[in-house]
């Protein structure tokens, strides 16, 4: 019996190794979304800064849209926040927030304190829209094109490097498509 127990650490390690091996082939930042190529879902939610104001899909501007899922409970959101403020200056797209699983007071404080990069931030306490989008954790960022089609989903904080690698090419691509359509 004692002899068998000695193999236990080895067995546990092998099991862990298999999980790690499996993990290598999964990319934690790319979330395959069933929604890619589909229209952005309909929604009707109040905004963070004003419980009385309800926004729907019609309130999203035309052009390229980024929808950033955030929460005050999420440290990585804080990391990417300063970069989002940079992004919000760009005229090439409009940036929307989707506040996920959060408290309104905290979320308002966050925006007041760190600055508000969003056109508006929808307050999704019950996770209605987030559920439809299949959000697992914050931060996640969706790219929606001129036609309202979801083109990309990115999990994890965005910084300048990630932006250049993951987003910039797609934005250029969408702009190209727009030009082709108008021709």
């Amino acid at each position: 019996m004692n002899k068998v127990i000695r193999f236990l650490p080895l067995v546990l390690f092998v099991a862990l190794g298999i999980v790690l091996f499996r993990g290598l082939s999964l990319d934690p930042t790319s979330l395959p979304s069933a929604l890619i190529g589909k229209p952005f879902p309909e929604f009707s939610l109040a905004v963070v800064n004003d419980a009385q104001r309800t926004v729907t899909k019609a309130d999203l501007k035309s052009g390229i849209k980024l929808v950033n899922v955030w929460g005050t409970w999420c440290p990585s959101c804080r990391v990417e926040h300063s970069f989002l403020l940079e992004l919000s200056k760009s005229k090439r797209f409009s940036l929307y927030g989707l506040n996920y699983d959060d408290e309104r007071g905290l979320a308002q404080q966050w925006l007041a304190r760190l600055g508000d990069p969003y056109e508006f931030s929808a307050f999704d306490e019950q996770g209605k829209l987030s559920m439809n989008l299949g959000v697992y954790a914050a931060p996640e960022t969706f790219v929606v094109d001129d036609l309202g089609i979801i083109r990309k989903r990115f999990a994890g904080p965005i910084d300048a490097r990630v932006w250049r690698r993951e987003f910039e090419p797609l934005i250029i691509q969408i702009e190209k498509e727009r030009k082709q359509r108008s021709n």
Binding site: P9, L10, G17, F21, P28, L31, S82, Q109, A155, D159
Partner: protein, 680 residues
């Protein structure tokens, strides 16, 4: 040309490492004394050439050699020279070279300072360390060569170091942390060497102890520095985030802490032999696992390196060989000898065993929390994340239990506690700590708070017991007391346990009593936060070497007395166009006032965030005390005693109260007697 020399030096170091991992072992098997003596020179060769390699990388940074890809992506001509030095470990390739370099430093140190240990044993240890070096130099050269060139398109300017890493602390934090991480390789090598020769007696534990404690000291300091860096550099005032990378360093620390205590038991009492070996293997395995987590990109973290599955695969192979190999060896070679030293339920052995088990459970919960997202993903159940709420909910009760038992440990006797003695010894510390714990929240906060009471009671408990034990130890046979009698290890334990108590106080008080206030201020305005008057005198534009910044001018005063001028900054780094908040703080032993400059608001107003952090420094002071205690234990002269002096004298055996050294000596004689018995 110069960078190629660095690359070449690394290849030569690899050759030395390969020889080191083969030649001494061949010598042992074929009984060639000559080959065994090659172990040390080979070690020094390996160390020297790795050193040359990292020095050349440093040279490339200092001379702004942007033809080297690694330099081009992590440095810039405007970067101050000291940050160029820290840029050496600012990315994956260079930090891996630092990893290898730390390992060769440890290996060389083992070769240099092990004159008292049998040559055959040390040759085995060095060979095992050599094998690990082979794996990691191969990893560096094959997948992550820091000397790769950018021919022919040499950039004029580098991409600059990540602004978060442009900090003086980053010069010392990674080397110290790596020394700790990697240092557990030494304990691992001792354990594997002991398994190889099948002698799991007290001797290997005695030899491995100072090395393990030394590694633990580095790891403790490294983690504390990391936490401190996060505190002031990230600008959120937090000091621990349960981020996967933090967990990666914390798990080996938990197991390492268990290991240094378990080694003590194995050395002094001959008990827990298999357990100790297993802990030694796990401590290093977790360091490797940490390296894997940080570098393979399987888990998202704020500070992981660029993900690359091929690198992950390589580390996974290394992990499989090292850990799988050593655990297989353990399965076949674990000690069959039942512990010859029996102990009663009420004994120090039991207390240490319980603490050990709790530490291991704590480590498993951290491991689960860290790997859970991956586990769920790997089983195809979707993606999810585990945050601080999980860790806090699980960790606080486990640790509280640990501290209760940890309090008993130092006072209880080895082998068997005398009847009634325990109650007599522990009654006054327990009553006192509960009293102080109950009184503290009223005195400090003005109202009762159960968490504060719990934290302070536990801290006092740990502290009072260890002081009492120290005081007990000063008692001489003639009834007088003498502090000169105390050994350095006794001081070490007292200091390290006091450090734990101090850290508990810091964590408890800062978690409960910290405040965060957000205010909107115009130049000339004042606010009062936690009794401090804060006057905002506007914002100045300042230029740094590679950034420009808005610098807030904030005067901190209390009751009209000026305390300090705080200048928090919002920096924009020119090359990476990245914004950074540089908080300013007025630090004190009992409180920090921590101010971060927010955004400019309309009408010349600025958002300003003021944190009041009571006792936050105690967290890191406590860690420094733990490290200091470790240093004392390493310096204890019994580790440097010559082999022949171990034989106990009559005088020392006649000492009535068993002093540690006597136990050590008697257990040494026991184990010597045993090994003699085996031979005959």
């Amino acid at each position: 040309m110069i960078p190629e020399l660095g690359h070449f030096a690394l290849i030569i170091a690899l050759a030395f490492a390969i020889c080191l991992s083969i030649v001494p072992l061949v010598g042992i098997i074929s009984n060639h004394q000559k080959l065994i003596t090659y172990a040390k020179p080979l070690t020094f060769g390996m160390f020297s050439f790795t050193a040359i390699s990292i020095i050349i990388l440093a040279y490339s940074f200092v001379t702004d050699d942007f033809s080297v890809k690694y330099v081009a992506s992590h440095s810039n001509t405007h970067l101050p020279y000291y940050f160029k030095m820290s840029a050496i470990w600012g990315g994956h390739e260079g930090s891996l070279l630092l990893w290898v370099f730390s390992l060769t430093i440890w290996t060389a140190a083992v070769a240099k300072f092990s004159k008292d240990i049998e040559d055959v044993f040390i040759a085995r240890v060095l060979a095992v360390l050599g094998m690990i070096v082979v794996g990691f130099i191969a990893f560096t050269i094959l997948t992550s060569n820091p000397f790769d060139r950018l021919w022919p398109n040499v950039p004029m300017e580098g991409r600059d170091l990540n602004p978060l890493l442009q900090d003086v602390l980053f010069l010392i934090h990674p080397p110290i942390l790596y020394m700790g991480y990697v240092g557990f390789a030494v304990a691992f090598a001792f354990a594997v060497a002991a398994l190889m020769c099948g002698k799991l007696d007290a001797a290997w534990a005695r030899w491995a102890r100072p090395w393990t404690v030394a590694a633990w000291v580095f790891l403790t300091v490294g983690i504390a520095l990391g936490s401190w860096w996060a505190y002031y550099e990230l600008g959120w005032g937090g000091w621990w985030f349960w981020d996967p990378v933090e967990n990666a360093s914390f798990m080996p620390w938990l197991i390492g802490t268990a290991l240094i205590h378990s080694l003590a038991v194995t050395e002094k009492r001959g008990a827990f032999r298999n357990w100790t070996v297993l802990l030694a293997i796990f401590a290093f395995s977790l360091s490797l696992l940490g390296t894997f987590i940080v570098r393979s990109g399987i888990i998202t973290s704020v500070h992981s390196f660029a993900a690359d599955p091929s690198r992950g695969m390589f580390i996974l192979y290394l992990l499989a060989i090292t850990v799988g190999g050593s655990l297989t060896l353990f399965a076949f070679r674990a000690s069959n000898v039942a512990s010859f030293s029996r102990f009663a339920l009420y004994s120090r052995e039991t207390a240490i065993l319980i603490c050990n088990i709790i530490l291991v459970i704590a480590c498993i919960t951290v491991l689960l929390g860290t790997l859970y997202p991956l586990l769920v993903d790997a089983m195809g159940l979707g993606k999810m994340s585990v945050g601080p709420p999980y860790f806090n909910a699980v960790f606080v009760p486990i640790m509280s239990l640990l501290f209760i038992v940890m309090g008993i440990g130092p006072l209880i006797r080895w082998k068997k506690a005398k009847k009634g003695e325990l109650r007599k010894q522990l009654s006054s510390p327990s009553v006192m700590s509960i009293f102080i714990g109950l009184a503290f929240p009223f005195v400090y906060g003005g109202e009762f708070n159960a968490w504060v009471t719990m934290g302070i009671t536990l801290a006092c408990w740990v502290q009072l017991v260890v002081l009492k034990e120290l005081f007990n130890q000063t008692k001489l046979n003639n009834g007088r007391r003498s502090f000169a009698r105390l050994t350095l290890s006794q001081w070490g334990m007292t200091i390290a346990h006091s450090g734990i108590a101090m850290t508990i106080v810091g964590i408890t008080l800062v978690s409960i009593y910290e405040t965060e206030t957000n205010v909107k201020m115009i130049a000339g305005e004042s606010v009062t936060v936690a009794g401090f008057d804060i006057r905002f005198d506007g914002v100045k534009q300042v230029q740094g070497p590679n950034y420009s910044a808005d610098q807030g001018q904030i005067t901190l005063s209390k009751n009209g007395d000026f305390i300090s001028l705080l200048q928090p900054e919002r920096r924009t780094y020119l090359v990476q166009t990245m914004g950074m908040t540089e908080a300013a703080m007025d630090a004190g032993l009992f409180r920090d006032v921590y101010i971060a400059l927010g955004d400019p608001l309309s009408g010349n107003a600025w958002a300003i965030r003021v944190h009041f952090k009571p006792f936050v420094r105690w967290i890191w002071f406590g860690a420094m005390l733990m490290a200091l205690g470790g240093v004392c234990a390493v310096m204890d002269k019994r580790y440097r005693r010559k082999k022949e002096k171990v034989i106990p004298t009559k005088a020392s055996l006649s000492t009535e109260k068993c002093n540690d050294d006597v136990i050590l000596q008697s257990s040494m004689t026991e184990s010597m007697a045993q090994s003699v018995g085996k031979q005959s």
